[in-house]
Symmetry: C3
Subunit: 360 residues, 3 copies
C-alpha cells in the first residue's frame, strides 16, 4: 500500500482527502546555500531523493537508494562530482549512471545499475526539482517577481507547515480566518464593511481581488500610505504550488508575498517564502519588524494546520463543508486534482470571472 | 478501515477479540466538576467528542470536529453558551446547530453545517453522554445506589484501565485471580473452603452470589463484624458497563463498589468508581485506609490488564480458554455482543439460575 | 495480516523482500548463563516464546501466552520446575501441559489448556530452540568447531543486527564491502590484486574460497605469519543461519569466526558469535585487541544494516541489483527460500563448483 493509498484508505471514499501527488511539476528542494559539498537527503511527495552537486557544481537529484543493496545514497559522499555509496562504493553521476563498482573486473555501466534521476534547475537562489524522473521537463520553474526591481527589498524564510499541500495553500490565501486566528493583526472580529470579491479562474491559476477593503487603521495605515489612497488586494494561486498575496496601498506601498510550497509528504509541507516590498519608509526600518510579525502569524497558522491534520487522522477522513466565503480553496483543489490526473483543467478559453460579497 | 476493524483485523476471525462498540448506551464522560467554562476534549469508543456547558449551564456533547475545515471544536472556546471554532469563528449551540459564520452576508443556519450532537444527563455528580448521536434516548443513565442513604458514606475515584471494556469488567468481577494477584489481601493461595456459587442471568444483567464464604480472618474480620454473622457476597454486571460488588457481613457491615466503565477506545477504559459503605466503626477511621488499599489493588489489576492487552496485540488475536471458574466473563461478553448488534438478549422470561462449586 | 505479510505487503510482489520464516530449524535463544531461575521472554521469527528451566534444570520453551486469559507466561514465575501464570496461577510443565488451576474442584488437565511447546537443546553453552512447536526435531543444532581443540582459544560475543536474517548473513560473508566500510582495516580501496574465487554449492550450504589473497601488510602480517606462507580464506553459509569465516595463514595461524544468527523478527537479528583461533603469539596478548577490533567492525556493519533496513521500509519494497561480486548473498537467499517452503534445495548429487575473478 503506497503512502498515498494509506492516507486515503481509512474508510474514506477516494477523493475525500485533500491529498494530491503531482507529476511533471517543479518544486524547491533546497536553497542554493544548503547544497554544498555533501549530499542532501530530501523527500518529495513521500519519495526519498538525494541532492548533490555534480560536474561543474550543477545540482543533481537522484532517487535516494543504491540500486545494489538499497542503502540510501545520501549517506555516502560526493567524490569527483559523483555520488559514492557508503556500503560497497558504487558511484553514480548526475544522470544516475553507475560509473564505478570496486572489485569488478568487467564492464561497470548497465541499465539496471542506474539510479533514477530527476531534472533540476538552480534559479533565484533555490534548487528546483522536477517531480517525474527520467523525463525532459515540459515547463520551467516559477520565477519570483520583482526580486531585482529597483526600489524593492526582499526577505526570505523557510517554514514547515504540518498540513497537506492543499490545506497549506488554502490557509495562506484565506481571508476570513485572519480576523479570528490573527485577531487584531489584520482585521478585528467586529465586521462592518461589506466588500466585493472578484474571482478569476484560468487553466493554471485562480485569483481573488478584494475591492473596497478599508485602509489599515492607526499608525500602520499612516506609515504605509501617508497620502491615503485606495487599497488593492489580490490573492493568487499559481500551479502547481505557488500562493501569492499582493497588496498595493496608494501609489507608494507595494507588498508581494510569494510562497512556493513543497509537498514533502502527504501531511507535511515546506514553504519557501519570499516577501518583496516597496514602502514609503526606509526599508532598514521595516525589515526588523517584518520577520517577527510574519513568524508570529505563521506560528498561529501552523498550530491550526496541525490541529486540522490531527483531526483528519483521528477521524480517518475529511469532511469539509464550504460556504461562498471559501473563495479559493475548492478551486485550488480542482486544479490540483486535474494536474494529478495529468489533465489540464477544462479548457477555459477566456478567464472565468465571478463576483460575491464579504464582510471584513 | 475503522479503528474497530483495525482492532479485529490482524488475522482474527471476527468475534475473536473481546472488543465491542455499543450504540444507544449511557457512559460517563466527565465529573460535574471537570466541566467548567472551557470545552473538554473526550473520546468515547474511539470517537472524538467535545463537552461544554451551553445555555443555563447544561452540559452539551458534540462530535469534536468543525464541519467547515475539521479543526477540533474542543480547541476553541465557549462564547455566550455556544462553542466557537478557533479557525474561522463558526459558532455552535448545544444542539449542534451553526449559529454564526463571521463574514457571511447570507443565512447562517443550514443542515450541512450542523455538528452531530449527543444527548447528555448530569446526575450524581457525573456528566453522562448517550453513545448514539442525533436520537432521543430510550433509557436513562444508571443511578448509583445508596448515595444519600442514612448512615452511609461514599468515596469516589477515577482510574484508567489499559484494557478493553470486557477485560476490565471481567477483571473487576472475577474472584479466582484475587488469591494470586492480590495474594494475602482478600484470600490466600491455600484453598480449603469449598463454597457454592449461584449465577443468575437476566436480559440486561448477570449476577453471581457466593454462599458459604468465610468471614475475613483476624482484626479486619472483628472490626467489620464484631458480632460474627454470615458473609453475603454478590458480584453483578449491569448493562452496558456497570460492575457492582456487594458485601454484607453480619447485620452491621454493608459495602457496595459500583464501577461505571467508559470505553474510551477499544483498549482503554476509564473507571468511575463509587464505594458506598456502612460499617460498625467510625467512617472517618475507615476512609483514610480505603483509598490506599483500593489503589494498591487497582495498580496490580492495571498491570495485568496492560500485560493482557499487550499480549493480544503481540499475537494479533485473542485465544481464551475458559473453565467453570470464569463465572461472569463469558456471560458478560454475550450480553455486550447482543447490545452491539442492537438485539436484546434472548428473551429470558424468568431469570435463569445455575449453581457450581469453587475452592476459596 | 500476519507480521510476515505485513513485512511483504507494502506494494511488494511476494518474494521481493528478503525476509523468510524458517520451520523445523534450530536457533539459539539464550546463553546457558542467561537462563537461571526466572523465566526469559524471547521472540523467535516474530513469535513470543518463554524459556525456563523445568525438572532437573533442563531448558523448556513454550509459546509465551497463558491459554486462559492470554497474559504472557514470561511475566509469571517458576515454581517447582513449572511455570506459573501471574494472573490466576495456572501452572505449566516443560511439555506445556496444564498442571494446576487454583480454585477448580474438577480435573485440571485438558488438551485445550496446553501451551504450545518447542523442543530445546543445551550445548556449547547455548540454549537452542526448534522453530516448529509440538514436533520431534529431525535434526540437531550446529556444533561450534574447535571449541575444545588443543592449542585453540575462544572468545564469545552477542550482538544485535538491525537487519533481516538474509541481509545480516550476506553482510557477514561479503568481501567487497570491507574495503569501503571497514576501509584500512582489511583492505584498501586501491585494488591491485586480481584473485580467484571458487564457489561450492551443496544442498544445505554454500562456500566461497578465495585463492591468491595477499598476506596482510605490516606488523599484523608479520605477527600472524612470521614465516610467511599462503593465505587460505573460506566464507561459508550453513543452513539455517550459520555464517562461518575461516582464515589460515601459513602453518601457524588459524582463525574461525562462527556466527549463529537468530531471526528475532523480520528485521532484527541476534548474532551469537564465537571466535576460535590458534596463533603464533601468546593468546593473552591477542585477546585484549580482538574484542575492540571486532566490535568496531560490527558497529560499522550494524550502521549500514540499519540504513538498508530503513531504506527498504521507506520504499516499502526491496530492489536489489546483483553483480558477480555478490558471491554468496543470492545463493543464501535461494537456500533460505527452499527451507521456508519446506523443500530441500534442488538435489545436488555432487557439490556444484563455479569460478570467477575479483579485485582485492
Amino acid at each position: 500500500m503506497s503512502p498515498r493509498d494509506e492516507a486515503r484508505a481509512p474508510g474514506a471514499p477516494a477523493g475525500n482527502i485533500s491529498v494530491v501527488r503531482l507529476p511533471n511539476s517543479w518544486f524547491i528542494l533546497s536553497t542554493s546555500g544548503e547544497l554544498g559539498g555533501k549530499p542532501l537527503m530530501r523527500t518529495l511527495q513521500g519519495t526519498p531523493l538525494v541532492l548533490f552537486r555534480g560536474e561543474g557544481g550543477r545540482p543533481a537529484a537522484l532517487l535516494d537508494r543504491c540500486p545494489h543493496r538499497n542503502v540510501p545514497l545520501s549517506l555516502g559522499r560526493v567524490v569527483e562530482g559523483q555520488l559514492q555509496c557508503g556500503y560497497h562504493g558504487w558511484r553514480f553521476d548526475a544522470a544516475g549512471e553507475c560509473r564505478a563498482i570496486p572489485g569488478l573486473t568487467g564492464e561497470t555501466r548497465a541499465k539496471a545499475r542506474c539510479a533514477a534521476s530527476y531534472a533540476t534547475r538552480e534559479q533565484d537562489g533555490f534548487v528546483w526539482v522536477y517531480s517525474t524522473p527520467g523525463v525532459e521537463p515540459t515547463s520551467e520553474p516559477y520565477r519570483f517577481p520583482l526580486l531585482d526591481a529597483p526600489g524593492y527589498s526582499s526577505v526570505r524564510r523557510v517554514v514547515r507547515a504540518p498540513g497537506s499541500l492543499h490545506a497549506s495553500l488554502e490557509n495562506t490565501l484565506d481571508v476570513p480566518h485572519t480576523a479570528f486566528l490573527h485577531g487584531g493583526l489584520f482585521r478585528t472580529a467586529k465586521k462592518s464593511n461589506e466588500i466585493e470579491v472578484v474571482v478569476r479562474r484560468g487553466p493554471d491559476r485562480v485569483e481573488a481581488e478584494y475591492i473596497g477593503e478599508p485602509r489599515p487603521k492607526g499608525l500602520v495605515g499612516r506609515v504605509l500610505a501617508p497620502g491615503g489612497g485606495v487599497v488593492q488586494h489580490f490573492d493568487r494561486f499559481l500551479m502547481p504550488s505557488i500562493a501569492q498575496v499582493e497588496y498595493r496601498i496608494g501609489q507608494e506601498s507595494h507588498l508581494m508575498v510569494s510562497s512556493a510550497m513543497t509537498p514533502v509528504s502527504d501531511w507535511d509541507t515546506l514553504i519557501y517564502a519570499v516577501v518583496t516590498f516597496r514602502l514609503p519608509v526606509p526599508h532598514w526600518l521595516v525589515k526588523p519588524f517584518l520577520t517577527p510579525v510574519a513568524m508570529h502569524i505563521f506560528s498561529q497558522d501552523s498550530r491550526i494546520l496541525r490541529q486540522q491534520t490531527d483531526s483528519i487522522h483521528r477521524f480517518g477522513t475529511e469532511m469539509y463543508v464550504s460556504t461562498e466565503l471559501d473563495v479559493l480553496g475548492p478551486a485550488i483543489l480542482r486544479l490540483l486534482r486535474s494536474a494529478e490526473r495529468e489533465k489540464t483543467a477544462p479548457a477555459l478559453e477566456a478567464v472565468q470571472e465571478t463576483r460575491m460579497k464579504m464582510l471584513v
